[in-house]
Point group: D2
Chain length 367, copies 4
């Protein structure tokens, strides 16, 4: 199977380099009868768009999605859906000078070692530009999950550098450029980001994602577990270095008597597991958390090597995010949605549109 494809039954194949003529994806296995229009992609693409605020990269892409196939008279037909976005704002000159340099912390060196050749323009295939198509494909998955099951997938920023939210208000997340759950800290964050940008440095971030109304029974043991697939999907996002489900690394210091989520006639009494047991959804809210490293594209000079092994000073003058984690929120949502839709189809294949199993524990919401 293609290494640029993701998903077993809902299969997304992406292609394209950051500064090539276009990026795109093919979404295969999508059920027929889903209404899809180019405008449906606008909202989420805008949420991850560069140049959205002064706190993110100033690259300006129209990101107009063209639907090339799989949709007839506005409805999916069951054939592969191809989506295309032309690259318009490329500025390859920004990158010409580093074509023969290895930027510390970048994939320049590893692509060179693997393939013996690389497309240096804007990081080529290793650029986060690729994630645009994940978000586009995720829009289809979000729509199907919401229409069929009422599943809602929502992410937010739960940490930037040392800063954590003081409070938590999900409704606040979409009302500030940081996907931050506490409006009172927005000014603080803006000042922090301005100072960071001036310094020429960058910082890491943590993104949390929750999916509600996920039915119990999704996920395929042993090597197709729901949490295993989520881990792969989220770790595959650029700059991710860690993935947690439920309490994540917090479980290391927990006692079993504290961790195990009690089943009661009113539902689960807690949700330390994050909505997954044995790789299968419990019906509780799905909770995961992702760690993003600080981008290594800095204006701060550093010595490195070139393709000849000689020492060179590297300064990255391109347009970059001081905190790549901010725009990663909709990307994480998209990957969670794609995993869930794929698992929903896989469950239907093996177990059918099964009726009620008794008892159906009411999901515990605020876990």
């Amino acid at each position: 199977m293609s290494s640029n494809s993701f998903g077993k039954l809902l299969t997304v194949t992406t292609f394209g380099e950051s500064h090539g003529p276009a990026i795109g994806c093919v979404v295969d296995g999508c059920p027929p009868g889903i209404a899809i229009a180019p405008d449906d992609f606008r909202h989420d693409l805008e949420r991850r768009a560069t140049g959205r605020t002064r706190h993110t990269s100033q690259r300006h892409e129209a990101d107009e999605v063209e639907i090339l196939s799989g949709v007839y008279e506005g409805v999916t037909t069951g054939t592969p859906i191809a989506l295309l976005i032309r690259n318009t704002d490329q500025r390859s000159k920004d990158y010409a000078k580093i074509a023969e340099q290895f930027r510390p912390g970048h994939a320049d060196y590893t692509y060179w070692q693997k393939y013996g050749i690389r497309d240096p323009r804007g990081g080529g295939r290793s650029s986060a530009r690729e994630t645009t198509m994940r978000v586009a494909a995720g829009v289809i998955a979000k729509k199907w999950l919401a229409d069929r099951f009422g599943v809602q997938v929502q992410g937010w920023l739960s940490q930037i550098g040392e800063i954590v939210p003081h409070g938590f208000d999900l409704s606040a997340v979409e009302n500030n450029p940081f996907f931050w759950p506490d409006t009172r800290q927005v000014t603080e964050l803006e000042l922090y980001m301005d100072a960071l940008r001036k310094s020429g440095d960058s910082v890491g971030a943590r993104v949390d994602v929750i999916a509600t109304n996920v039915p119990p029974g999704w996920g395929e043991p042993i090597y197709g577990k729901l949490d295993g697939e989520l881990a792969s999907a989220l770790m595959s996002i650029n700059a991710v270095k860690g993935v947690e489900i439920g309490d994540g690394f917090g479980v290391v210091a927990q006692k079993g008597s504290e961790h195990r989520d009690q089943l009661t006639p009113q539902g689960f009494a807690s949700n330390h597991a994050g909505g997954i047991l044995g790789g299968i959804s419990t019906g509780q809210p799905l909770r995961c958390s992702v760690a993003f490293k600080p981008t290594s594209s800095l204006r701060l000079p550093i010595d490195s090597l070139d393709t000849h092994g000689d020492v060179v000073e590297v300064i990255t003058t391109g347009r970059h995010d001081p905190c790549v984690g901010i725009r990663a929120t909709p990307i994480c949502e998209a990957m969670v949605a794609l995993v869930l839709m794929d698992q929903a189809l896989r469950h239907r294949a093996q177990c059918g549109d099964v009726g009620e199993v008794t008892p159906r524990i009411p999901a515990q919401r605020d876990g």
Copy 2:
């Protein structure tokens, strides 16, 4: 592809329930010419074996591996290698009483919801018994990686509950029942585990794994990244709730100027990335860390539900580990080895047994 199969080119398919007649696996895609004997499996199976010390489950399994196919006159032939282990010490009676109960924190409830039926004997398919075959398959991968590339994969316990190692001595790890890197703490750990067992409770743990001598260039962008595959492989292990690569969640609070690993003629100056950039190995030591939840099989009673939705009191009197993380060390090693061998074959397929790419940065060892 089977959800009980793992790996694209080195494909491991496992089968078997905890208290069924046997467990086994089929390892397909293994190169011909590798010497394999039943004794080769003994060491790692012993490392993960139950009943190894009083600090782990007292289930005693001989775990004798029978090689059913794929090996002729002691050498692999390139055909599928089937390994079989008969279950001998089953004691199903231990579990009879909970056949209709949902143990909090277990997969009982989710298997029931997914399939409408489950094998309750010892947790059936969801039991950690399945991981025995991962370790067995991992032995083949470890052998090939060591012989072909000198790759060494070593894990250790880096945290139990609140306890962390005071010092780090890799040579100490195999000399105590806790895979602990600081011998001076062994007595402390024994006392801690004794008290825990007496209390009827359990605790979580963290396992670290390092792989050295991994050549640069292994890993397939975008959805077959080395770190993505590792995340999936490790998260698929029973009780795992978090996976980190390199500095993991530590990157959230890092600055880019701190995180980026500098390339020098003497090698990388640091290894915050954990040996992976852009999903491809750098040639540095591969570093990952895994969080294990505390087992939910406790002697401490708790109210739960039965399959009829009625409230029942659950007490688990079977043989269980107060800290499942301890025996998980060789399991984590096995999954890392299987991922690496699979990626090595995938790299060879696309890029061949490529010669030297210049420059070949010397790996930084002590990162």
Copy 3:
């Protein structure tokens, strides 16, 4: 994905060499709730068994199937079903002398070229012994297809050498050792086979398979077409050199006005297509035909080469079928059933258990 695995959602992985300790398979993706017992396998295994009549190989295998996993209290649980058959009647001595020889028409030479090593005992992995597990797995598929959809899969021998059936009576097929549809020719066939066996030679054969009550809509364009999957499944059977769907090669000389099957309110007026259009089932009987080459294991001596490149005379004195096509009938049925069940699950995944689409053309039966 493993090259010893077959099927996308119903995945069958086989292992084992002809004269190794055992052969077996793992059937994954099977829906839960199907009643399966060891006795269920007996009938079809007996139909393909060696030593069934004097007209087939005199190797006598008990072929007792042990169910190792995936079945609890006689019912499938949704976890992988492992089936094992021990090899009992091996007589490796029969083959010792040809360990270093390449038998013309056998896989000896190609396995040697590919792997640089081979298991010479009874042809090792390339032996038709492997097909025993296809038949065993096929039993599960046949049962599910019959219970869920009333699908019946039946094969027969439609040619041996130059001999073709004079008449066609499906009920006759199971009442003679040749799966022949015209009882009146059985004596003629027995005399033919006796003479052939005496001569030390072998002959080819053609097997036809029909599947009735296949619902319309099964099959996934473009590269998962029902006919494409059937072609792959049937061509993968030992000694197969050709596969036809519907009229097969007969279409080359047909006119479009003759070939196209007319749709009428009473159903299709003909079935030249063999029940498949555009890679999707029409609801008509599925018709396919397979060509089996004559076995190359002959008592007739022939010069060949050994592994050193020297000329050697080869005489195969082992127990072999003068016409391997005879016993291939249940194998073909099994592969058709496995393809159909896999496609049924794939269809359900993407399109659900869809209700009636109008118009549902009544299937034309006698095509």
Copy 4:
């Protein structure tokens, strides 16, 4: 894995409807360093192009290939290669009238039954228009196979209706519009086709393909056999109803003493097997043959049903080939080339770039 994807390591994913905005493909797994330019696709696309002669459909497509990704400065980088062709000559009006009709012999009915919706414009996804991208992808495979191994893949028409070649001259094939191996019959074929077109009817055809210089050892037993993959690849081409390897159905009447290809120090004495034994290449020329049904798009009226189940008269007035098999020749070549390249990469993965195995039998050329 996507059902619109083909190949395990060299994975081709196609998309697009006959009269949608565009068709395209993504070729993943291609080794780096292969020189590819848009002009490279022109020759084979022209060979399969409609409107090439008066004997084929008069639809005129420019078929200009745009390379969207995976190629940098004219060389493949190892990242997915996306190819796009805009549809220009669509004439949807030709098809408007049959939007609600089921054309006998077409996929109209089965797509409707499967998906409950279909794109009727030019047959939508089921149109042979899709094969354009197979030919484009095949160009890359042909180039790599020729450069690396000297493999040549050549097809020709071996039968139209009742007409078979009187002689065989491979050099003649590319010098007439019928890919016919005997120039002396071209006039006869032109008259035959003119009469056929006037009659409004169509006819079937047979295409043969040979691949020379294929190294021994390619092909993966058991379910990834070279012949199994070829059968799937060729059967997946529109209108194909039969596939043969080597002597194909001719083996049914053969004796084993006649069929088995003798190994001699000078090479194989014959090639009845068609270059494959046990699913692995022998080093002899690979021979396969494919049966194409007559197109069902006829000007001859016929009663059929519409989507409401009512009887309607169908007349297809679009632009169609009276013999689709003619233009299928380069499509068959492309599929053979794609299978061979995929198997070459798979072989390299498991067995490496193996050196000489002794004895390397000289291939027998004229088999």
